[in-house]
């Protein structure tokens, strides 16, 4: 399976999945930096926001 481009669910940016990407892997969107979990859609891979701890800035 060659490299694939998917759309980031957050910012609609393009996220490139390497050929050896596996289900459950965490990838980062280059544009908005959100961490995405690779899930198995009906036929191909899909991306879902990975659970992330809301970092407290406490400013």
């Amino acid at each position: 399976m060659s490299d694939k481009k998917l759309e980031c669910p957050e910012c609609a940016g393009s996220v490139e999945l390497k050929a050896d990407t596996m289900e459950g892997e965490i990838v980062q969107c280059g544009d908005c930096g959100v961490e995405l979990e690779v899930t198995k859609g009906d036929s191909a891979f899909a991306l879902q926001p990975a659970p992330e701890e809301e970092e407290d800035w406490g400013e």
Binding site: E10, C11, A12, G13, G33, V34
Partner: protein, 347 residues
Amino acid sequence: MNKTLSVSILGGSGYVGGELLRLLLDHPRVEVSQVTSQSQAGRFVHHSHPNLRGRTDLKFVHPEAMTPCDFLFLAQPHGFAAGKIEDLTGFAERLVDCSADFRLRDPVQYKKWYGEEHPNASWLSRFVYGLPELNREELREARFASGVGCNATVTTFALMPLARAGLLTRVVVDVKVGSSEGGARPTDGSHHPERSGAVRSFKLTGHRHQAEIRQNLGAEFDLNFSVTSVELVRGALATAHCFLSETLEEKDVWKLYRQTYRDERFVRLVKQKTGIFRYPEPKVLSGTNYCDVGFELDPGTDPQRVVAVAAIDNLMKGAAGSAVQTLNVMMGWDEAEGLGFPGLHPL
């Protein structure tokens, strides 16, 4: 045309003149022939610009000793070039004036914001505004270009995608600025004990750069502008509250910003979920020609509010960097020539 271009800087002892000199000394296609300064004539340039020690033996020459060159940069206080443009353009085929004298196309606007008739109003139409991201095509053909105002530039970049889509009804912008905007000449307010730690409201109304922003983005929306000085030497950060004519989703806004800036080498979109630097920030841009742009959408507001944020180094993208980028466009060179510094972190 790859013969080395001879360039000179009129007014080289100030901060913008110093940045132009730093960039041009390391620019592969140009040769700096003269740097003028009335007060520093005869002294080494590194006497005013210590970062240039050991890198050049150039000395400041008196403005009257200036000789013709291929490309001339003017880095004088406002009002200097306006009256002398006729003979200044006799010194070089092409010229960039970094002051505000030839930024505005409309002489009426100039009088309104600068409080006097423009002494050479007919020349206004012969100058092209020197922000390549706005008018690259015109600059390619231009012989004369103006520089850009730093607060106007950072605000223009924050608003451009929304303005061009006709979405703006009202905008309230507060720009945070560093002390180098005031230039190299000391004043009561720039005295360290008075300036250090300042969070000082500078121009709450009537800032001149509004005219430039209108010229760049049109006047269909209500623009409200204030400036606050903060603990910083280089840098400007625009925080623009935009009230839109329609309700948008976050993805729509992303798309607008991406479309506007996708092919721009010096504009980066910065809107991150994690990490320390989630939105644009000026310090990390010091010395670079970048403008970082980001935004945040306030869901469930009516009218819809989007806070757009942009950051630049006021001496670079807000002055000398854009001037050298304009040189590259006017000469048909790679726009990033001599502008490759990535910036420092931490700083």
